[in-house]
């Protein structure tokens, strides 16, 4: 049985034409410098990337910069995707997360006022169009529920760390608690979420 459908349509594959390929196959083409393959990857994961960046940065312009930097670094650096470490989506979001943390930590305390772009959630709310998007929306609800069901002290440290980009020392200082306590709350919170989510394997590809 062939491993994939041969693709020789036109001089250069279009993002739409490449839509039949799995993310991992597209990544092979990205490494050979095919913009259309990169565009297909972008189309699949840009909304999730922007949502994460905006949730972390709280400002549209900064979130856009983070997503742009992250995707261009994937394209230019030849950073290696390793499927043993998870899906392409998880990998892309990991890069976005790291870039957003860098951006947040570069900002001075003076800049750290979380001024949200008013109404952006309504203007840019992602529509639910396909079965995959419906499934992702359900998955997102489960994850939010699992986070909200944690004791406040545990959900707070997880949110401050993951979405706020703060270090465990900064969180300990902010909450006036020992560093060891903060680390313990993080671990307990994540472990409880893992049990609540039924040992999730990964986010949807």
């Amino acid at each position: 049985m062939p491993m994939f459908k041969p693709l020789r349509s036109g001089r250069e594959g279009s993002a739409a034409g490449l839509g039949v390929l799995a993310d991992e196959e597209l990544m092979q083409l990205v490494y050979t410098g095919q913009p259309a393959a990169f565009e297909a990857i972008y189309d699949r994961h840009a909304d999730a990337a922007f949502s994460l960046a905006y949730r972390m940065c709280g400002q549209r312009a900064l979130a856009e910069d983070v997503v742009q930097e992250a995707f261009l670094s994937l394209w230019r650096s030849g950073a290696r995707y390793d499927r043993a470490r998870g899906s392409v989506r998880t990998w892309v979001l990991g890069v976005v997360h790291n870039r957003a943390i860098d951006a947040l930590r570069r900002r001075t305390v003076h800049d750290r006022g979380r001024i949200s772009d008013e109404g952006i959630e309504e203007r840019l709310a992602a529509p639910e169009r396909t079965d995959v998007e419906f499934a992702r929306r359900d998955e997102a609800r489960e994850i939010r529920d699992a986070l909200e069901q944690l004791p406040d002290e545990q959900s707070r440290v997880i949110e401050l760390a993951y979405f706020g980009g703060l270090t465990h020392v900064q969180i300990a200082s902010m909450l006036d608690a020992p560093v060891g306590t903060i680390k313990g709350r993080m671990r307990l919170g994540l472990a409880k979420m893992r049990m609540a989510l039924g040992d999730p394997t990964e986010v949807l590809p």
């Binding site: 949502s51 390793d82 939010r144 986070l147 465990h168």
Partner: protein
């Protein structure tokens, strides 16, 4: 993983797994812990378990649509890079045309793992012999030519098999990405593992390459090519770009 039992390694190192997966360590701490988990199975196991949850956290953010102008900016940069790279490849191609002396021509840039130089030389001799037979048009008879499936648009590949040895001929392949090289793999059954070979190669400026497949292909079901980091991999990191079905 039990919630009630803190996971602490033999040297009392268990506390950093959660801040590590949440990105809550400083850069210095992060690097130190990354080195630590290479040798500490307890922490490595805990990181793997917690990472599953941390990887799911992006879904907890309100889901928005990325602004269309952001895609225009990103893809504009990407296409500009691709055009620049293509023009560089074209310049390299012209430089290697016969009659030009600015750069030595290389029809197939086979690269071998340095520690296997002797074996590589032997295989290269076999490959050259196969090339000679094919190009001389006298291979006929026992030579079987198989068209390979190619994932890359515009590229093509064929496999010539003769006397239990095979040679891949590629055309229109893109240059390897920086820090990467193409690698040839053998598969002995449909469900079996892909076995690495020492055939690591790049393609000429025009995207062509002729690669001798090391060893005998008797009993080999498929020959594959993937893009791998320099030095090659022991397990394919991504699906194959080229697959030739031998039997």
């Amino acid at each position: 993983m039990s919630i009630d039992e803190p996971r602490v390694g033999p040297d009392g190192c268990g506390g950093n797994a959660a801040p590590y997966v949440l990105g809550a360590l400083t850069e210095h701490e992060h690097e130190a812990f990354a080195r630590h988990i290479e040798s500490c199975a307890v922490c490595r196991e805990e990181v793997a378990a917690l990472q599953l949850v941390a990887s799911a956290l992006p879904a907890a953010a309100p889901q928005l649509s990325a602004p269309p102008e952001l895609k225009r900016r990103v893809m504009s940069s990407v296409r500009a890079d691709a055009r620049k790279r293509e023009s560089q490849e074209l310049r390299r191609g012209r430089a290697s045309e016969p009659g030009r002396t600015s750069r030595p021509a290389a029809s197939a840039w086979l690269r071998w793992r340095p520690n296997l130089a002797v074996a590589a030389l032997a295989v290269a001799v076999i490959a050259l012999a196969v090339v000679a037979l094919s190009s001389g048009g006298s291979a006929g008879g026992g030579t079987r030519v198989i068209r390979a499936q190619v994932l890359v648009p515009r590229a093509s590949a064929s496999l010539s098999v003769s006397d239990g040895h095979a040679q891949l001929s590629l055309a229109g392949m893109p240059q390897s990405a920086p820090g990467h090289v193409y690698e040839v793999w053998l598969k002995r059954s449909a469900s079996g593992k892909a076995l690495p070979t020492d055939a690591l190669f790049t393609v000429a400026a025009n995207g062509a390459a002729t690669v001798g497949v090391p060893g005998s292909v008797d009993g080999v079901r498929e020959i594959m090519v993937t893009s791998e980091p320099l030095g090659g991999s022991r397990v394919p990191t991504l699906p194959a770009l080229i697959v030739a079905r031998v039997s």
